[in-house]
Amino acid sequence: MKGVPGMARAVVFFALLASLPSFNLAHWVLNLLVFTLIYAVMSSAWNLVGGFTGYPSLGHAAFFGVGAYAVALWFKHHAITSGYEPFVVLPMIGLFAAVLGIPIAAIAMRTRFDVFAIVTITLLFVAQTLAFNLHGLTGGAQGISITVAPFPPATFERPYYYVLVALLGLAMGITFLTMRSKLGLSLAAVRADEDKARGIGVRVTGVKLLVFAVSVGLTAMVGAVWAYYESFIYPQFAIDPLITIAIVLMTFLGGRGTLWGPVLGAGILEGAQQLFAYWLGGSQVYLIAYAAVFLVIMLLLPRGILPTIQDRIRRRRRRGTVNAVAVPPALPRAEVTVGGGAA
């Protein structure tokens, strides 16, 4: 019952996304959409770990960088002719990052909450330092370039756009299936009380590692698309604490642990940031406007947009049922009859 309108919503949303480029939007609009999608996919991926599992990873940007450098390094030795080759290797990059993520998660996820956040942000800076200093591999501060794709200038953004829409579909599909399965139930138990969860047979370590691997795999694929889109990467942008902070804020804003929250948060924050930058120009005023949007929403909807709204609906419905049925009399009577039967 609940799945039908949800499915319809998803179909409409993705149909709309897929049709947007055919409206001959200006390049800056498509560019904005590409970046919004980049953040939407990453926020959805982060939500698997930070939202469902309750582990606030600040190291995801390191895996974004892993994806970016992976694609750059691969195409240093392989030719790009049709322009689609980097998209073809995306699953391999995702798998590589996921496998890389498992031992990292196995160590980092022995800690919790704020300590986990510090451990993972340390990971981010370690990765950035490596990117700066492994000159032979990354080109250090000089950066590394990727062949510019031979796509026609008029529709240059489209292939990236469609690949990102597909990745968003993948991330949201994984999120949806997670929520609907016992995996999601296990994660909810871990998030609420990990020690208790362990004691009732939840495969705590296994599910944590699994979602971390999937999450960073998705993040790395986005990093790879971004690097190819930019065609030139520097360590400070490929492994950037601001990316981590942005995806965390977006997920919190829209509502962590929800399907649509991260996408909504990414849409609002990335859209607002780019629009303010466009309207208010090069001065830093746009950053103040950007922060103001965030503050206003957090003041009004402290748990994030979707959870706060869902809560209000739930409470209103509850009040409705309590008024409709007088609940108390049913309980004691049942107790007496069943108790009598047993005695």
């Binding site: 609907r180 208790k196 495969r203 309980l331």
Partner: protein, 243 residues
């Protein structure tokens, strides 16, 4: 017949405190065994050593004749050794039904099946009926009273069809009517073949329900036997009242 649970020379030291100090005892299958003792005598630490929450510094725990010392708590649960906590620990943001289903002890393959499938609903439904939680099955656990949470926690650990259940103060903080309810549920489950090991401070409850009673003091067993004998034991009186 070998005992269901056997603790040999278990020791756990926290800094300068010997919380459990060379403790040995056995729990025979089919009993409701009580573990009592003054505050700080090591009861909860002992529970943690048995259920895999803490590794002992020394000693051995055997369950159904198998050495389980230091095994993971989740694995023990799936093999039929369940426990509850002193403070009723439920998942507040999950529904009452989901709290039960989460405790199903699933294999990896089952993790990718529906969150609450038909079989789960049936399995949880039986427990909800038994514990009279069916009317609140769809409420969030955070909306239950403390006593109901205690019942929910107890019901949830039965999802794995355990052979031994460790209850840590099942009546602490609940009203007298609920104490009776709890007692009845333990009796019913005991009659259905589950062995219990219960830490409890309510002596009336222990005397009515448990046999044998094991008494701990300063991390060691000081007495064990039928409730009446233990009650009259001079060592026990000294431990509680001071000699």
């Amino acid at each position: 017949m070998s005992p269901l649970l056997e603790v040999q020379d278990a020791t756990k030291v926290f800094g300068g405190v010997r919380a459990v100090d060379g403790c040995s005892f056995t729990v025979q299958g089919g009993t409701v065994t009580a573990l009592v003792g003054p505050n700080g005598s090591g009861k909860t630490t002992l529970f943690n050593l048995i259920t895999g929450y803490l590794p002992p510094d020394r000693g051995q725990v055997r369950f159904r004749g198998r050495d389980i010392t230091g095994l993971d708590a989740g694995r023990l649960y799936r093999h039929g050794l369940s426990r509850t906590f002193q403070q009723a620990r439920v998942f507040p943001h999950l529904s009452v039904q989901e709290n039960l289903v989460a405790a199903g002890g699933y294999s990896w393959r089952q993790l990718f099946t529906r969150r609450v499938g038909r079989a789960d609903r049936e399995r949880a439904g039986r427990l909800l009926e038994e514990f009279r939680l069916a009317p609140v099955a769809d409420l969030l656990a955070s909306e239950l009273s403390y006593g109901q949470r205690k019942l929910l926690e107890f019901a949830a650990v039965l999802m794995s069809e355990p052979s031994l259940v460790l209850l840590d103060e099942p009546t602490a903080g609940v009203n007298p009517v609920l104490v009776e309810t709890m007692e009845r549920h333990i009796r019913e489950r005991h009659a259905a073949g589950i062995t219990f090991l219960i830490v409890e401070h309510d002596m009336g409850f222990v005397m009515r329900l448990c046999d044998p009673v094991i008494v701990l003091d300063r991390g060691k067993q000081i007495a064990a036997g039928p409730p009446a004998d233990v009650q009259a034991n001079q060592l026990v009186l000294d431990a509680y009242l001071g000699s």
